[in-house]
Symmetry: C2
Subunit: 160 residues, 2 copies
């Protein structure tokens, strides 16, 4: 049994829960995912594998896994229409949304870590998670507006 499945199984056990067929499936899908997904997509994939999964169970299971610190919930765009989840094992990515073409650009930056360290040092805060959503104009749209590319997330860019 691989790491994620093992951790998830233990978390459910510890909470006095049971390993049902639905939970087994959802956990296996997460295990093999690229580590980032939105609820609706996750639900459709799960249902394609087993029609015996409801959206309620998806939410309930994600809530359990989040409480166990195995996944974390976040938003991507400043208007927050949809909630996304990512495995905690994944290095968190942050997102910029273009107001004109709605393209989403994912990035890492050491400044986010620096901000967390500053909050710890100066205010004594322990930071568990951050939702960093920025918006504005992408390079393509700064001169002429461009066609809508809603939800096409580019590969995550690593800043200096």
């Amino acid at each position: 049994m691989s790491w994620f499945t093992e951790q998830a199984t233990e978390a459910i056990r510890n909470a006095g829960g049971r390993m049902t067929a639905q939970r087994k499936l959802l956990i296996a899908l997460l295990e093999n995912s690229d580590g980032e997904f939105d609820v609706e997509t996750f639900f459709h994939i799960a249902r394609a594998n087993d029609s015996n999964v409801s959206i309620a169970t998806v939410y309930r299971t994600l809530n359990i896994l989040e409480a166990a610190r195995l996944v974390k919930q976040h938003y991507r765009s400043r208007d927050h229409e949809r909630s996304y989840y990512e495995l905690v094992s994944k290095e968190p990515a942050y997102h910029f949304t273009c107001r004109a073409c709605h393209k989403i650009i994912a990035f890492h930056s050491p400044l986010v870590q620096a901000l967390e360290r500053q909050l710890a040092a100066e205010l004594g805060l322990v930071v568990f998670g951050a939702c960093i959503c920025l918006d504005g104009l992408c390079p393509d749209c700064q001169n002429q507006p461009e066609q809508d590319k809603t939800d096409h997330v580019s590969p995550t860019l690593l800043l200096a």
Copy 2:
């Protein structure tokens, strides 16, 4: 007529809109506010002044003012239950929510500006606005859990 009212009036005129009693009231309230508010509170205050204001008008008016870049919408806590607005003239504040006592701590940090500059320099992005929501444990709650202080926002802290 003071600056904000003047700008708002002009923005509405330019869009071919009319200055109704409701809009006049809402703009005057913003003019005299401390520059940051949530929709529900704003609605209650407006209604106390004139029972002839509906929640729909509050939303419609805020949307107009946001399009005119006189206010901006953002979220405070990572779960984003409620949306807040602030006057653009105000220096933006970011927020940390304690998972245990739900206290909200507002702060400024030069690192947020630095992040925007980095995105501009390295990816060519023009940043209009940011939603920076962090959560974790406040100093009080790191040892023993504490009573719920939901929504009591402390004065904004300025970090080095």
